[in-house]
Amino acid sequence: MPIDRDERDDVLLSRSAKGDQGAFELLYRRHEGPLYRFALRMTGHRWAAEEVVQEVFMTVIREPKKFDPTRGTLGGFLYGVTRNRVMKHLERTSRDLPLGERTDDGFSPETLTSKEMTPVEWAELHERRAQVRAAVLELPVEFREAIVLCELEEMSYEEAANALSCPVGTIRSRLHRGRALLLAKLEMLREVPRKANAGR
């Protein structure tokens, strides 16, 4: 559905720069979800994603002129700012990759099991997905971004390329390498318990 001219991102941004609270609120509601999910999936922590989203919108409030409509969409710009903040966060904090159940990371394992399962099956599935989550968080940032946007957020290659300001071909190759790395990591993670069991 086409967006009304008055509700276009650039128009809303210019109105909010002049103090229109309604325009800013609309912008916030339109973009916070995807940005929050991106930050959450990249950092693996709800608190970090909150901090990132807050900083991104603070930047929009304080420096609205940083966005240049001739260089792309506001969505792309916001992804760019979010990405920078995520990078800073990742540089700042040491890696924290608990493989067990996480209660404060914004993920809800309960949603995984829609069909009837035995406790053992559920535990295995739960463990495997925890491993996948951990493996995603361990990926190098550029591959993780591609996986998060294309696989988790289900963006098209073009949308992901726009969000990351890179060519579509780069997204394809990062995805390809990201998947290969994920497979290798998961294989490694699954090998360890197998070897431990074999040793008994």
Partner: protein, 234 residues
């Protein structure tokens, strides 16, 4: 990476092509020929079939991982903080703009007051410099003034060249120092009122073209030291 069409155009598919095409098939299931080629290769190549199965599992897991956080949104407290910042920012800006405008308004008003005061002061000072007032001096009719003849050494009023010992009525030109009267000569000349401006006096510009009589107190160096409007001194 190879283009999909390029891959589909070659049958049978190689393992390298399979590795590239396998995820693409899941991403773009509408491409029937490519899908067919991938499935065909997987049937014939057990390692590639295993890879396909692993990729399938991985993509399922990733999809579930995506589903876990599909509805995730920033908590309301983030919006609250951001909106608070927005309000603070714009309230502060509004206040700052008000203060800025006020400050500039005050500065402008102060400048106007200072200019008016200075002009008035200069005007009053100018009037007091002329005994009897500038208005009287200006009111003098040039018709009553003696004629001026041109001489080789300047404008000289022949029949009214006066040597006055009374220097009290003269107003020193800006930058001049008082001279002993015995070294000075008084010369009466006619000039346009505007010329007084060149000597450093304030002149009513509306009447700058009026011709008036002026006594110049000339030093022994030939330069005027002071002026007097003769009609007002006598």
């Amino acid at each position: 990476m190879q283009d999909d069409k390029e891959i589909t155009g070659r049958v049978p598919m190689t393992c390298e092509e399979f590795v590239l095409a396998c995820p693409e098939v899941r991403s773009a299931p509408a491409d029937g020929a490519l899908r067919q080629a991938v499935l065909e290769h997987a049937r014939q190549c057990p390692p590639c079939a295993a890879l396909q199965a692993s990729l399938q599992t991985l993509q399922d897991d990733l999809r579930y991982l995506g589903l876990e956080t599909r509805q995730a949104e920033a908590p309301a407290r983030v919006q609250m903080r951001v909106m608070q910042e927005f309000r603070n920012r714009h309230r502060t800006e509004k206040r700052r703009r008000f203060v800025w405008i006020g400050a500039w308004g005050l500065a402008a008003a102060a400048t106007v007051v200072a200019t008016v005061s200075w002009t008035t002061w200069r005007h009053e000072k100018g009037l007091s410099a002329w005994p009897g007032g500038l208005a009287q001096a200006v009111a003098m009719s040039p018709a009553n003034a003696p004629t001026v003849k041109s001489a080789a050494n300047g404008l000289v009023i022949e029949d009214t060249l006066v040597a006055s010992s009374a220097s009290g009525d003269f107003t020193l030109l800006p930058g001049s120092t008082p001279l002993p009267m015995e070294d000075a000569t008084v010369i009466r000349v006619q000039m346009q009122r505007g010329a007084l401006g060149a000597l450093g006096f304030t002149v009513n510009e509306e009447r700058a073209s009026d011709v008036i009589q002026v006594d110049l107190l000339v030093g022994d160096d030939g330069l005027p030291q002071a002026v007097r409007l003769p009609g007002t001194s006598q």
